[in-house]
Amino acid sequence: MTRRPTAPPGEELVLDPIACTGHGLCAELLPERIVLDDWGYPMIDPQVPASLREHALRAVKACPALALALRQARAG
C-alpha cells in the first residue's frame, strides 16, 4: 500500500445528525472512517480516498435513515 501525499481532494462523507437514528450499520461497513460513540451514534472521519470509495458507497446505500451522503470534497 503506497500512499500519495499529494492526492487530489477526493470525496467526503456528510452526516445528517438529525436524520441519523444510530443504527450503526455504517460503522460496520466502513470501520476505516466511522466509529460509534457510547450511544451508538457515528463519529466520522470524512475524507474518502479512492481506495475506500466503494465501501463508502455501500455504507451510504445501506443507511436505513438515508442520513449519510458522499459528496465531492471542496478543494482548499
Partner: protein, 227 residues
C-alpha cells in the same frame, strides 16, 4: 404440462422466499445484531431475498403463460380480475405481483424518493404477503391436504410470529397494535373457515372458476395428479 409443474414449484418457492424476505425485513427494522450476524448482513439478505422473489415470479408467470394449458394471458398476471381462469384467485396473484413491483421499484429508488415516500409504500409489504398466500391456496391445482397446504400453513406461522415481534416493538402505538392484532386474528379465523370449506373441500376447481373445457380434460387425467 411440464411447464405447469415449474409454475407450481416456483410459486411455492416464491412464497417461502417472500416469507423469508418479510421476516428479514422485520429483523432488520428491529435492529437485531450479533457478532455472528451483523446488521449489514440482515440488510443484505433482506434485499437479496426480495430480488430472488422477483426472479422466481418471472419464471412463475412466464411458465404459466407459455404452458398454454390454461387460458391465461400475460396481462392477467399484472391486471387483476380480468381473466377467465379462476379470475378471483388468479387476480389476487396479479395484485400481489403489482404490490411487489411497487415495493421493489420504490426500494431501488429509495435515495431519490426520500425516506417518507419509501416508508409509506413499504408498509404494503404486510398486505402483499397475505394476498400472495390466498392466491396460492386458491389457484393451486388440487391443494387438498397436501404439501402445498402444509407449506402455506408453515409460512403463515412464521409471518404471524414476525408480525408479533414487530408489534411488540416499543415504538409501536397502542392503537396500531390493537388494529393490527385484530386484523391478524380476523385473517386467521377467515382462513380457518375458508380453507376446509373451499380449497380443501371437493369440487374446488369448478367452484374456483376453472373453465369447463379444462375441467373435462382434467377428469380424464386426474389420476396423474394424485399420489
Amino acid at each position: 404440462m411440464a411447464l405447469w409443474y415449474l409454475t407450481r414449484g416456483t410459486g411455492a418457492a416464491a412464497l417461502v422466499l417472500l416469507t423469508l424476505s418479510l421476516t428479514l425485513g422485520v429483523v432488520n427494522v428491529q435492529r437485531y445484531a450479533s457478532r455472528l450476524v451483523p446488521r449489514f448482513a440482515v440488510d443484505g439478505w433482506h434485499r437479496t431475498t426480495s430480488l430472488l422473489v422477483c426472479v422466481l415470479l418471472a419464471v412463475h408467470v412466464g411458465t404459466t403463460v407459455l404452458d398454454g394449458y390454461a387460458p391465461i394471458r400475460l396481462v392477467d398476471a399484472f391486471v387483476p380480475f380480468g381473466g377467465t381462469y379462476r379470475p378471483v384467485w388468479l387476480g389476487l396473484g396479479a395484485l400481489a405481483l403489482d404490490l411487489l413491483i411497487a415495493l421493489i421499484v420504490t426500494s431501488l429508488l429509495r435515495a431519490r424518493l426520500g425516506l417518507r415516500a419509501w416508508r409509506a409504500v413499504h408498509w404494503l409489504a404486510y398486505a402483499c404477503w397475505p394476498v400472495a398466500l390466498v392466491h396460492g391456496l386458491g389457484t393451486g391445482s388440487d391443494v387438498r391436504p397436501g404439501w402445498l397446504t402444509w407449506l402455506s400453513l408453515g409460512c403463515t406461522a412464521v409471518v404471524i410470529v414476525a408480525v408479533g415481534v414487530r408489534l411488540a416493538d416499543r415504538g409501536t402505538a397502542i392503537r396500531v397494535r390493537a388494529g393490527a392484532a385484530a386484523t391478524v386474528a380476523a385473517g386467521v379465523i377467515a382462513l380457518a373457515i375458508w380453507l376446509p370449506s373451499g380449497p380443501l373441500a371437493g369440487g374446488w376447481a369448478a367452484k374456483a372458476g376453472t373453465p369447463p373445457s379444462i375441467l373435462g380434460a382434467k377428469a380424464a387425467t386426474t389420476a396423474r395428479s394424485h399420489r
